[in-house]
């Protein structure tokens, strides 16, 4: 009997405690420098202004779709706000796992007076996606391994040019981006890439082009791999996110250079899981409104070289918080850097991902 | 049996010493010779060095100093498998994954004997231990006594000239043990094998052996045929260790030839045979076997000295009576008398007088 009483009292206490700290927010992100930029730019000022709120991070963004699906099946959503890439946001929205929202209602208007919908513009690629940053996937190379008498590479196709630039490459272990680069460097016009890639012949053509460098490729699956391989001198060049390269080049001062050619533009942002209870939803919405306003988005670029998703934030981008480096020239959105870019085609990959991936993996394993 | 001269020695330990840790000697200056065909038992309490001697002979331990010779040849540097010594282990060490026949075949196979020869020898060995019908069994399907027989057969099947047995009957019950004692001695004598037998059981040692080496503290205390060992112990350890023994403590009062006078601690003076006492005034332990104690004066020499004794306990044991007495302050003094028709049955508290022949009373070291 005594035990039962204690248990009852315990659970009652737990209930009370749960109610008292209803302002617990569980945010899901990617960990590393990116998450800490979010912590500094959004969470710290928010918690300072709202002392009742406590924030917990969960570094699960890479498996967010699978985990949300599992949570949804189990009927117990434990996340409040999830940072995902746009393609995942579209999938989550398609599956009804993310909440649809009205930009003008949920998000703060821009500092310049523009409505949130106009300020974010086309970057709201899904009804559930709250854009945060623009990033790109591009190539970095070891400046000290460029052969003597040869210019440092500036063209994405130097990846396929083993004669001029010998050495190992690293590419992501998935077809997305690699297939586009392969076709582009095989002479396919930029605006026809996806038309060609939709055909089996086009897919074979892309794989054939990749085949020419296959022996020299180390395939990566974690974002930290290429920067590490570059730092170790294991590879001559490799693809990774521009923010990672910024960190290797500017923060760690490694002999590494980067290409701004045919880099793939992509978006990263928040989604609010569908099916939150009213209280958490209100708390999350309040946080999101704060975290995506013009100032906060611009602030994030003090810590990492990804471009703010709001037009009105662009003029506010200033210098790196610790190094004092001017950040604008390192942004994928900088006009100097965005002369020749490729936009991630969400629709195409939603359709062709399974098919091309099967071929790609089969090709890889051969 | 008389001491054998070195020239005829089949097994010889010459000044053998053994130390495991370099600080203490487990075997101290061991000298021992055995003629061919002898059954010698190494008897002693655990830790007395007897098993170490056996293992040195078998080749599993190396002598720290000194030489071990087999048939005149030094064998210190010969590995065990080349010594051709049969061995029976305490736990039999029958190979559990082989049948009885395979176990017996093993020593023949490693000697590269042909199949028909092997089969014949196996059959003969099994018949010898009356286990002919068990060839196909596994050791786990046999009783302890049967395993013991197989172990014996295996040690003999390759017809070694020397067989070592390390407490082979330790795990058997009393009746089976007595039976096996007989079997082993019979076989050993029939086959004319030289046998070194290690045990801590004195009955076993006395009943089986031609000679017994009593070990203590790394030394042979006495090496003699069983009867001499029992009747003429050379020091108080042997006297105590072999058979039941009464001890009276005292001081040498005088020595003359084959007799000496000993003043017991309570002042009584008795006559004894000096064994390893040399000077007057030396402390001594006088040893008398319980069955040599007489209460019937007619059986003693004329004028023999008697002592007063008080009966503390009288135990009827069937063939004999065992009487515990208080003699010269010693309350553990035991007298054994034959259950003869005219024998008096004593009562507790009864005062009697006891005596013995001077030759049965041995003055030993204290």
């Amino acid at each position: 009997m005594k035990l039962t009483h204690t248990l009852l009292a315990g659970s009652a206490l737990a209930l009370v405690a749960g109610a008292a700290s209803a302002q617990d927010l569980t945010l899901v992100s990617w960990g590393g420098a990116y998450q800490s930029s979010q912590q500094k730019a959004y969470v710290e000022p928010y918690v300072e202004a709202n002392p009742g709120v406590s924030v917990t991070w969960d570094e699960s963004s890479a498996e967010a779709v699978a985990k949300l699906r599992a949570m949804n099946e189990a009927g117990n959503i434990t996340w409040d706000l999830v940072d995902v890439v746009a393609a995942d946001a579209i999938r989550l929205c398609d599956e009804g796992l993310a909440m649809e929202y009205d930009p003008d209602e949920l998000l703060a208007p821009g500092d310049d007076g523009s409505s949130a919908e106009d300020d974010f513009g086309d970057l709201i690629v899904s009804d559930c996606f709250i854009p945060q940053i623009v990033y790109s996937t591009t190539f970095g190379y070891r400046t000290d391994l460029v052969p003597e008498g040869v210019e440092a590479p500036t063209d994405v196709c130097s990846v396929f040019d083993l004669e001029t630039y010998p050495g190992k490459r690293s590419l992501e272990k998935r077809p997305i981006n690699n297939m586009e680069w392969a076709l582009y460097c095989d002479g396919v016009a930029k605006d026809e890439i996806y038309d060609v890639l939709a055909t089996p012949e086009g897919q074979d053509q892309a794989l054939a082009k990749l085949d020419t460098i296959k022996d020299e490729v180390i395939w990566w699956s974690a974002g930290a791999d290429t920067p590490q391989l570059l730092a170790d001198g294991e590879i001559f060049m490799g693809s990774t996110y521009n923010g990672r390269l910024f960190s290797v080049i500017v923060e760690q001062d490694q002999p590494v250079g980067m290409l701004w050619d045919m880099q793939v533009f992509d978006l990263d942002g928040w989604i609010i899981p569908a099916g939150l209870d009213e209280e958490s939803q209100a708390a999350v919405e309040d946080f999101v409104k704060f975290a995506t306003d013009t100032t906060r988005l611009a602030d994030q670029s003090k810590y990492i070289s990804y471009g703010p998703a709001r037009l009105s934030s662009a003029p506010l981008v200033s210098t790196h918080a610790d190094l004092g480096v001017e950040m604008a020239p390192h942004m994928p959105t900088d006009p100097e850097n965005a002369k020749n870019t490729l936009l991630y085609n969400y629709e195409f990959w939603a359709d062709y991902r399974d098919d091309i991936d099967a071929k790609f993996q089969s090709w890889l394993a051969k | 049996m008389a001491e054998t001269s070195d020239s005829g020695a089949f097994v010889a330990f010459e000044r053998v010493q053994k130390s495991y840790d370099g600080e203490t000697l487990v075997v101290k200056d061991l000298n021992l010779t055995m003629p061919q065909g002898e059954f010698l038992t190494m008897l002693g309490p655990s830790g007395s060095g007897k098993t170490t001697c056996l293992m040195m002979l078998a080749g599993f331990e190396t002598a720290t100093y000194g030489e071990i010779k087999l048939d005149g040849m030094p064998i210190n540097n010969i590995p065990p498998h080349k010594r051709g010594i049969g061995m029976v282990f305490q736990n039999y060490a029958l190979f559990p994954h082989m049948t009885v026949a395979e176990n017996l075949s093993f020593p023949l196979e490693v000697r590269k004997m042909g199949k028909s020869v092997r089969e014949e020898k196996i059959k003969r060995a099994l018949d010898m231990v009356q286990m002919g019908s068990f060839a196909g069994r596994r050791p786990s399907q046999l009783s302890g006594g049967q395993q013991q027989r197989i172990a014996l057969a295996r040690a003999l099947v390759f017809e070694p000239e020397l067989v070592l047995m390390d407490e082979p009957l330790g795990a058997l019950d009393k009746q089976l043990r007595e039976h096996m004692q007989f079997e082993i001695t019979r076989l050993a004598h029939e086959l004319g094998i030289t046998t070194v037998y290690v045990t801590h059981d004195q009955t076993e040692a006395l009943t089986m052996s031609d000679r017994v080496a009593v070990f203590n503290d790394g030394r042979i205390q006495q090496l003699a045929p069983p009867d001499r060992l029992y009747e003429e112990p050379e020091n108080s350890f042997v006297a105590q260790f072999i058979g039941e023994n009464n001890t009276l403590e005292g001081t040498i009062k005088s020595i003359s030839g084959n007799t000496c006078e000993v003043q017991l601690d309570d002042g009584e003076v008795i006559v004894a045979r000096p064994v390893n006492v040399t000077e007057v005034g030396q402390k001594t332990r006088v040893s008398i076997r319980p069955e040599r104690v007489e209460m019937d004066k007619s059986r003693l020499q004329e004028g023999a000295h008697t002592l007063k004794a008080e009966v503390l306990e009288f135990v009827y044991m069937g063939d004999i009576f065992r009487t515990r007495l208080r003699v010269a302050g010693n309350t553990e003094f035991v007298m054994k008398t034959r259950n003869a028709p005219d024998q008096v049955r004593l009562k507790k508290g009864q005062q009697i007088e006891i005596g013995w022949l001077p030759d049965d009373c041995r003055a030993l070291d204290a």
Partner: protein, 552 residues
């Protein structure tokens, strides 16, 4: 002593039959034993049996197609793809209403994703069509509102559909049940609407569409049906019904408005739904897509398992997958081969260590044991990454070899991102699982066996090989089973150091579970892997005998 003289059963002291008495006593014992192990039993059931059962179920489960498109798959049942003609109007009609409610419930894109595994392009087809479904109804509504404003009003529609006289409760219940199937949630509550039998007979498609709307509004949204404007699909239903229905004789509420609308409908251009879908996306006329829907409309499918062995289920039966997409059989074989290689290297490296452990004096053995267990105390990722640092071309081993002059700087060895790297790293990780059972078995082998063998004339090697080794085989068996089964399921290490030639089937399973979200295929691959392991276990039992396995 019993003083009974009867021939009946033995009785216990209290007169009950002895057998029953004994059974009762034993039952009590069994119950107590069961209660003691019940926490474990429940734990095993919940954490082990249930997930495996769930996985096996997912690998064949395919209810999504028939639950999302129940009417369509039913009507499509009669269609024959081999004629090369797309299905007729009724199929498209059924598709429209099925898709409409699915789009409202946000289920149609899930189905698109599901069918996209089988036919590329279905995903966007469903998504884009789902967006355009409202347009047709909106157009009709505009035309109808020109005749009578009230056609856009919820209350008007509610009166019209409810009518007078008897109502058809069953129809609403059927639609509620179908919605439950679609959303997978238990729906409860009162819909607050039932169509009159008269209007249901007169306007069947309108009624069906309205019933869908009513059920969804009341049960999912929790709104009052009469206050909400009906879905666009209701207007499509009405226009379709009005093409054939004779409304002149109808006399229920709003009969007049209905008759006016029927007259006006003559002047509104009616677009057959087949035409509508073809305009939305010409792929809807694609015979292959319909054939795929038909092939995968059954509740359970072998499709995932066929995919998992490089086959595919097509409308024409089972076919091999195109050669450039075949991968799983190869990966299964590679997984087996590499797991075996890892097991053998574990035996080769672990055996001497275990022997040392079993034969060293206790103090040294303990130190060695700590070294053996050390890998257990380090994170798997750290260990694997450490191997990366060791083995890579600019890594420690290559640096040392180059420094020693054994390897040319330009020809550094490739020891990672291939099978070699995986085998090295995984052997290291799994070695303790080999050493520990070996050690405990070896500890149970008394040294006297070796001595006995030597005393019988065997050389060191013969004594080891003929006497010691056979007795340590149970430990090798136990260690091998542990290592092999663990190796077969590893995926983190192969992912990090395996490159393209050193990855396992488990890497693809992980990919399908967490990345492509093709859980059915992942489950099928997992089920096959489980079956293979059980098969090997069975074979092991047959050949070596499972009672020959000793963990200690």
């Amino acid at each position: 002593m019993s003083d009974t003289t009867q021939n009946g059963p033995m009785l216990a002291a209290d007169g009950t039959p002895l057998k029953r008495s004994l059974a009762r006593a034993l039952r009590r014992q069994k119950m107590r034993a069961l209660m003691l192990i019940s926490p474990l039993l429940i734990f095993v059931l919940v954490t082990f049996i249930a997930p495996i059962a769930d996985m096996l179920f997912r690998s064949v489960e395919n209810q999504m197609v028939s639950e999302t498109l129940p009417t369509t798959t039913q009507v499509l049942g009669e269609w024959d793809h081999s004629a090369g003609e797309p299905p007729a109007e009724p199929v498209y009609e059924a598709l429209y209403y099925d898709l409409f409610i699915a789009a409202e419930a946000k289920e149609h894109t899930k189905l698109g994703t599901r069918l996209n595994y089988e036919y590329t392009g279905v995903s966007s087809l469903f998504r884009s069509t789902g967006r355009g479904l409202d347009d047709l109804g909106d157009d009709y509504l505009d035309e109808l509102e020109e005749v009578d404003d009230r056609w856009g009003e919820g209350a008007f529609w509610y009166d019209l559909m409810t009518g007078t006289g008897s109502t058809d409760e069953d129809l609403v219940a059927a639609h509620a049940k179908r919605l439950e199937q679609l959303t997978g949630d238990k729906l409860s509550g009162d819909v607050g609407f039932a169509p009159s039998t008269e209007i249901a007979a007169l306007l069947p498609k309108t009624t069906a569409a309205y019933a869908d709307f009513a059920v969804y509004t009341a049960l999912v949204d929790g709104d009052v049906v009469a206050e909400e404007d009906p879905w666009e699909s209701v207007y499509v239903g009405l226009m379709t019904d009005l093409q054939t229905a004779d409304v002149a004789s109808y006399s229920g509420p709003e009969a007049e408005a209905l008759q006016t609308a029927a007259e006006a409908a003559q002047g509104i251009e009616y677009i057959p739904l087949k035409t509508f879908f073809a305009e939305e996306d010409e792929d809807w006329l694609n015979v292959d897509i319909w054939a795929t829907v038909q092939t995968y409309s059954s509740k359970y499918t072998s499709g995932y398992f066929l995919n998992a062995v490089d086959l595919q289920l097509t409308p024409d039966g089972i076919e091999a997958r195109p050669e450039n997409q075949q991968i799983y059989i190869m990966l299964f074989k590679r997984t087996m081969f590499m797991s075996l290689a890892i097991t053998f290297s574990c035996i080769a490296l672990g055996y001497p260590v275990a022997w040392l452990l079993a034969n060293l004096p206790a103090s040294k053995a303990n130190l060695l044991m700590i070294l053996v267990l050390l890998p257990f105390w380090t994170s798997l990722l750290v260990r694997t990454s450490a191997w990366k640092v060791m083995l890579q071309q600019q890594g420690v081993i290559n640096d040392v070899l180059v420094w020693l002059g054994l390897v040319d700087d330009a020809a550094r060895l490739v020891m990672i991102n291939n099978q070699f790297g995986t085998i090295v790293a995984m052997t290291h990780i799994l070695l303790p699982f080999m050493i520990l059972p070996l050690y405990s078995v070896m500890q149970g082998i008394p040294p006297s066996y070796l001595r006995a063998a030597k005393s019988l004339g065997a050389t060191n090697w013969t004594a080891f090989w003929r006497v010691y080794f056979p007795q340590s085989v149970p430990g090798i068996g136990a260690g091998s089973i542990l290592v092999f089964i663990l190796a077969i399921g590893y995926y983190i290490t192969p992912e990090i150091v395996g490159g393209t030639t050193g990855t396992f089937i488990s890497n693809r399973i992980a990919y399908h579970i967490s990345s492509s979200l093709n859980w059915g295929l992942g489950a099928a691959l997992g089920a096959i892997l489980l079956a293979v392991v059980l098969l090997l276990y069975w074979a092991y039992d047959k050949i070596v005998g499972i009672d020959n396995v000793k963990l200690g």
